[in-house]
């Protein structure tokens, strides 16, 4: 038989332990409370729909988007053989190649210029950043007019120089390039601001010692600015790539994917497949494809970015 004292001690322990678990989980419970809004919203509007997209991509659907017939990988196989989809992929890749490098080079150039310590430089910085404040819809409408075949500014310039006007948005050869020009212009503001921020973060002393050694501007640019800027440039490249894959508004306002589907970029293609043709199954399969593209870009960033890039 155990003595009363011993029993009491055991009871005490049990109570302590119980309180301990409750106490121990206090932090966990508090944290959950603070994280709950994010967790609920991510679940409802991000994780669930991502799963649902994957699910739908294996089905044929009715007009309401309810899954009807399980078809396995049929939707994917259909896409890989569909000329329209392959064209869309090709257009998207070309679009990325047209917009990302050019946009970054122009922004880098502007940022280097705007980093000079001159009177009134703030004014120029504001102008260069201004396109960030202009929406996709507004930019597209303005450029739609600049590209206008008869009254548009671009063709007027060409005409005044004695050239033949170009059907910017109506000629399959030019349309994608025109959409790209609009996009590059739109993105300059954001890219410029980020790169300028990066340049200003570089330690002044590096330049001072280089100057003492008599290094010229371009030597400093190659040996100090660009290497020290590499994390910023890397970030900007990733964001620009992802943005390029997500392009929609410009296409909707400028070309509606035409002429002859030369500007049917992937998000526009998904939009049309789902909300015009009501083919939610194949549209979902295209969405999965978009997801994979962006996944690859992000993984590449983590794999290579961290190693190659010079961090301070």
């Amino acid at each position: 038989m155990k003595s009363q004292v011993e029993l009491n001690g055991m009871l005490d322990n049990v109570v302590k332990k119980k309180k301990g678990i409750w106490q121990q989980s206090l932090n966990w419970r508090t944290a959950l409370l603070y994280l709950l809004p994010s967790l609920i919203l991510f679940s409802v509007f991000l994780f669930y729909p991502m799963g649902k997209t994957l699910y739908l991509s294996f089905f044929l659907t009715d007009r309401q988007g309810e899954a009807n017939v399980f078809v396995g990988l049929e939707n994917y196989l259909y896409l890989l053989e569909s000329e329209a989809f392959l064209k869309s992929i090709k257009a998207t890749i070309l679009f990325v190649l047209y917009t990302v490098p050019t946009g970054i080079i122009i922004s880098l150039f502007l940022a280097l210029l705007a980093n000079e310590k001159l009177k009134g430089i703030g004014f120029f910085r504001t102008i260069f950043a201004s396109t960030m404040g202009i929406s996709v819809a507004a930019s597209s409408v303005v450029w739609l007019f600049l590209f206008h075949p008869s009254v548009g500014f671009l063709n007027k310039i060409i005409a005044s120089l004695g050239g033949q006007g170009v059907d910017w948005l109506l000629d399959p050869k030019w349309a994608l390039l025109s959409v790209s020009i609009t996009t590059i212009w739109m993105n300059i503001g954001f890219t410029f601001l980020i790169i300028l921020g990066g340049i200003q973060n570089i330690d002044e002393h590096l330049y001072e010692s280089a100057k003492i050694d008599g290094a010229g501007y371009f030597y400093q640019l190659r040996r100090i600015t660009i290497p020290m800027l590499s994390p910023t440039l890397f970030f900007v490249i990733t964001v620009s790539l992802i943005n390029a894959f997500q392009t929609f508004g410009q296409v909707d306002i400028l070309t509606q994917g035409g002429p002859s589907e030369s500007t049917n970029l992937i998000v526009y293609s998904i939009y049309r497949e789902a909300f015009v043709n009501y083919q939610f199954g194949t549209a979902s399969a295209q969405s999965i494809f978009l997801f994979l593209c962006i996944l690859v870009v992000t993984i590449l960033q983590f794999k290579f970015g961290e190693k190659k890039v010079h961090y301070q």
Partner: protein, 270 residues
């Protein structure tokens, strides 16, 4: 020699500025032109009259759209600030099991392009009967991993002593959050707020899907309507619409440019 170099930089700066700003300047000038002036190919309008602006507001409920855009952008901005700040607080100041894993899950959401989820999201909004409502246009955007990430970076710079001192003083977690953390990180909150407002004001695809009448439609969709209605004839009216739509965000950008530049660079790199 220094003078020559300075002059050269100014010249290049000016040319670049003109090229970049030209489309906006041109749109502004056209917004004062009649159809006839435009056909003649003038660059400067004969006089600055507001007729086109009058027409733009007559053809469309533009004022109503502006109000919608303002309500939606402010709501998303506030929603993002509250939700992100709470999450960031938990990640920085509450040690709990699985914190690293959960943070990794948060970051991984940045890999999901929103467009890849829009079909089921559209169906969800439809089932909730949220088409043509403010909540349909705002609530899906409240949680944003970028916001949590940005604020977490700044919260981490709060000195440990401050946290310890407030615990000794018996300040509750919630009061520490409200009274110490948020005021300390005002600049990041402003950056995130400006960013949220800008991106929401400029949103295009989701408002296109989630509205089918004028009740909560935003100015961006209004621009598309204006452009389809007026096409060939009255570009002046369309450009008047463009100027009205871009003015609020341009002002916001001019005011907050420095802040935004610093904040975004920080969020991007640390």
């Amino acid at each position: 020699m220094r003078w020559v170099k300075k002059g050269l930089v100014y010249i290049i700066l000016s040319i670049a500025a003109l090229l970049i700003f030209f489309p906006i300047l041109y749109a502004f000038l056209i917004s004062f032109m009649t159809g006839g002036e435009l056909l003649q190919g003038n660059i400067f309008p004969e006089r600055f009259h507001l007729e086109n602006y009058q027409k733009a507001f007559d053809r469309l409920p533009l004022a109503h759209y502006l109000l919608n855009s303002l309500i939606i952008s402010l709501s998303v901005m506030l929603g993002q600030l509250v939700v992100s700040a709470m999450a960031a607080y938990a990640f920085v100041f509450i040690p709990f099991k699985g914190r690293t894993l959960l943070f990794f899950i948060f970051i991984s959401t940045m890999m999901i392009p929103w467009e890849a989820t829009m079909i089921p999201n559209f169906m969800t909004i439809q089932k909730l009967d949220w088409i043509n409502t403010y909540q349909g246009l705002t609530v899906p955007f409240f949680a944003i991993a970028f916001g949590t990430f940005l604020l977490r970076q700044h919260f981490k710079t709060i000195p440990k002593e401050l946290h310890e001192a407030s615990e000794v003083a018996g300040l509750s977690k919630f009061r520490f959050f409200i009274k110490v953390v948020l005021p300390y990180c005002k600049t990041s909150l402003v950056t995130l707020g400006a960013y949220g407002f800008l991106t929401t004001w400029n949103m295009y695809l989701w408002p296109l899907l989630a509205t089918n009448n004028d009740s909560v439609r935003t100015v961006q969709i209004g621009l598309k309507q204006l452009q389809t209605q007026e096409m060939a004839t009255e570009w002046g009216v369309v450009m008047a619409g463009v100027i009205v739509v871009i003015i609020p965000t341009l002002i916001l950008l001019f005011l907050g440019q420095k802040q935004l530049q610093k904040g975004l660079a920080q969020g991007a790199l640390k």
